[in-house]
C-alpha cells in the first residue's frame, strides 16, 4: 500500500464525517422506504416489478447521491479546512494524492451503495409485509439490487471526486451533485429518454436491475458508467495537477 493511500485511509478513520454521513444516509433511506412502502396505495405495490422499482428508486438513488457526496468531500473538506496544504506538502506529486483518493472513494462508494441498497430492500420488505403484501422479489433480484447498487455507488463516488476536484468549494459541489442526480436526470429521462437512459444515474440504476431506462445490457451499462467515472478521475487529475492551491 502506498504512503499516500495509507494516509487517505487514516483520514477517513480519524474523523466522524464518513461514519456520520453513512448513518445519515441509512436514516434517509429508512424514512424514504417507510413513506413509499407504507404511504403508496396497495395497488401500486402488488407486482414484483413495482416492488423492485420502489427498492431501486430509493436504494440506488440514495446510494449514488451519498457516494457522490463522500467522493466530492474527499477534496472539498481538505480545501475547506486547509488540510490540502499539509497533504500536498507531504505528497507533492499531486497525481499520487488523486489516485489514492480515487481508491478510497471507490471503497467508500461501494460501502455506501451496498448499505443504501441493503437498508432499502430489507426495510422495504419488512414494511410491505407489515401492510399484508406478499413480497415476490427473488433472491437473485435482491442480489442484483445490492451488488449493482454497490457498484453504482463506487463509480458515482469517483464522479463526485471529479466534481469536488474541479469545483473545490463544498456547497456548490454538493448541491450541484444532488440537483443533478435527484432532479436534472429525471427531467432528462422524462423529456429525452433516448439521451436520458445514458445519463450516469440511469446507468447506475441499470446496474442495480432497473429495466425501463437501462441501456441494452448490464455489461453495457457497466462499461458506460466506468467510462464516465474514468473521465471524472482524469478531470480530477487535470484540475489538481495544473491549478494552484493558495
Amino acid at each position: 500500500m502506498s504512503p499516500a493511500l495509507r494516509s487517505e485511509l487514516l483520514k477517513l478513520r480519524t474523523t466522524r464525517t464518513t461514519v456520520g454521513t453513512l448513518a445519515a444516509m441509512a436514516g434517509v433511506v429508512l424514512l424514504a422506504m417507510a413513506l413509499h412502502s407504507l404511504g403508496l396505495p396497495k395497488d401500486k405495490l402488488v407486482s414484483t416489478a413495482d416492488q423492485r422499482k420502489v427498492f431501486l428508486d430509493v436504494g440506488s438513488n440514495m446510494g449514488m447521491a451519498f457516494a457522490a457526496l463522500l467522493g466530492a468531500m474527499a477534496v472539498t473538506i481538505e480545501v475547506r479546512y486547509g488540510t490540502i496544504r499539509p497533504t500536498l506538502l507531504a505528497t507533492p506529486r499531486r497525481s499520487r494524492v488523486v489516485v489514492s483518493k480515487m481508491w478510497t472513494a471507490l471503497g467508500v462508494g461501494l460501502l455506501c451503495g451496498s448499505i443504501a441498497a441493503g437498508v432499502a430492500t430489507s426495510a422495504g420488505t419488512l414494511f410491505l409485509r407489515v401492510r399484508g403484501l406478499d413480497v415476490d422479489v427473488s433472491g437473485g433480484q435482491y442480489f442484483e439490487l445490492v451488488v449493482g447498487g454497490a457498484l453504482a455507488g463506487a463509480l458515482w463516488a469517483t464522479i463526485g471526486l471529479g466534481v469536488g476536484a474541479i469545483v473545490r468549494s463544498q456547497v456548490p459541489a454538493v448541491v450541484g451533485l444532488f440537483v443533478w442526480i435527484l432532479f436534472v436526470e429525471n427531467v432528462l429521462i422524462a423529456g429525452v429518454p433516448s439521451v436520458g437512459k445514458y445519463s450516469p444515474g440511469a446507468l447506475g440504476r441499470a446496474l442495480a436491475g432497473q429495466q425501463v431506462d437501462a441501456v441494452a445490457s448490464w455489461p453495457a451499462a457497466l462499461l458506460a458508467l466506468v467510462t464516465v467515472a474514468g473521465a471524472a478521475v482524469c478531470a480530477a487529475l487535470a484540475a489538481t495537477t495544473t491549478r494552484d492551491f493558495t
Binding site: 480519524t14 496544504r85 499539509p86 507531504a90 507533492p92
Partner: protein, 239 residues
C-alpha cells in the same frame, strides 16, 4: 553559518491576470541561518513561499530546495518542514491524528509523533480535537507537523501569531537551536521587534520585488533599527 545555499530562488515571476504578484525575485538561503522575510501585505511573500513549496506554479524562474524543485524531491518532509497557515487542521481530528496522517503520507517513523508532541508541549492535549485548541496550541501543532521529518529547512509564515510571550521566547529558542545544528529557517513575519531578536539575515520585498537582502546587523545598522530600515524601504509600497 555555512555559505552553501540550500534554498535558491532565481528570477521568480508570478502573475494573477494583470496583477504581478512577484516580479523577477532572486535570493538564496544558506545553511545554518535564520532569515526574516518581510514586506507589506500583498508584497508577494506568501506567493513566493507557495511556489517554493510546490503549491503554486511560477510563470518563470525557479525555486530550488537542495538542488531540486520541491515537487521533485524524493523525501520532501526530510528536506522542508513548513507552516503556512495557523489553521490547516480538520477541527474534528485530534492533534495526534493530524500528525499520524502526515507521518503516514510522508513515510516517517510513527515514533516521531510522540517526540514532536513532547517537543512542542502538546503531549497532554494530543487526544483532543483540534477545534478545542487555542491559536497558540494550533501554532505549536503546526510546528510539530513541520518538524516530523527532521527537515533541513523550516519555512514558517507568521509563526508567532497567537503565541504568548513565553511561547514566543520558546519558539525563538527552538529556531536558534535548529539553525545552530545547521538547519535553514525562513520566517515570514510582520512583527519586526520579534524578527530583530531572532534572525541573522533579512529579505524585504515590496510590490513583488526584492527591496533589501542583507544581514540583520548591516540592514538595521544602516538606519538605526530594523523598523526604521523597513519603513524607509517600504515607504510608498504599502498594502
Amino acid at each position: 553559518m555555512s555559505t552553501t545555499a540550500v534554498v535558491e530562488i532565481t528570477s521568480l515571476t508570478k502573475r494573477y491576470g494583470e496583477v504581478v504578484a512577484i516580479d523577477d525575485i532572486s535570493f538564496s538561503l544558506p545553511a545554518g541561518s535564520i532569515t526574516g522575510f518581510l514586506g507589506p501585505n500583498g508584497a508577494g511573500k506568501t506567493t513566493t513561499l507557495r511556489i517554493l513549496l510546490g503549491l503554486a506554479d511560477a510563470d518563470s524562474g525557479t525555486a530550488i530546495v537542495g538542488g531540486r524543485r520541491y515537487r521533485d524531491l524524493d523525501e520532501p518532509a526530510r528536506w522542508v518542514g513548513a507552516v503556512l497557515e495557523s489553521n490547516d487542521f480538520h477541527p474534528g481530528r485530534s492533534g495526534r491524528d493530524h500528525l499520524r496522517v502526515i507521518v503516514a503520507a510522508a513515510g516517517i517513523d510513527p515514533r516521531r509523533v510522540d517526540e514532536v508532541l513532547d517537543l512542542v508541549g502538546l503531549s497532554d492535549a494530543h487526544h483532543r480535537p483540534v477545534k478545542t485548541y487555542s491559536l497558540g496550541m494550533r501554532q505549536r501543532l503546526g510546528l510539530a507537523a513541520a518538524l516530523l521529518g527532521e527537515p533541513r529547512v523550516l519555512v514558517l509564515d507568521e509563526p508567532t501569531n497567537g503565541l504568548d510571550p513565553s511561547g514566543t521566547h520558546w519558539l525563538r529558542r527552538v529556531l536558534r537551536a535548529f539553525a545552530d545544528d545547521g538547519g535553514t529557517v525562513l520566517v515570514s513575519s510582520h512583527q519586526l521587534a520579534e524578527v530583530a531578536q531572532s534572525v541573522d539575515h533579512v529579505i524585504v520585498i515590496g510590490r513583488g520585488r526584492v527591496l533589501a537582502d542583507a544581514p540583520l546587523a548591516e540592514l538595521a545598522g544602516s538606519r538605526g533599527t530594523l523598523e526604521d530600515a523597513y519603513l524607509d524601504l517600504t515607504a510608498g509600497v504599502g498594502s
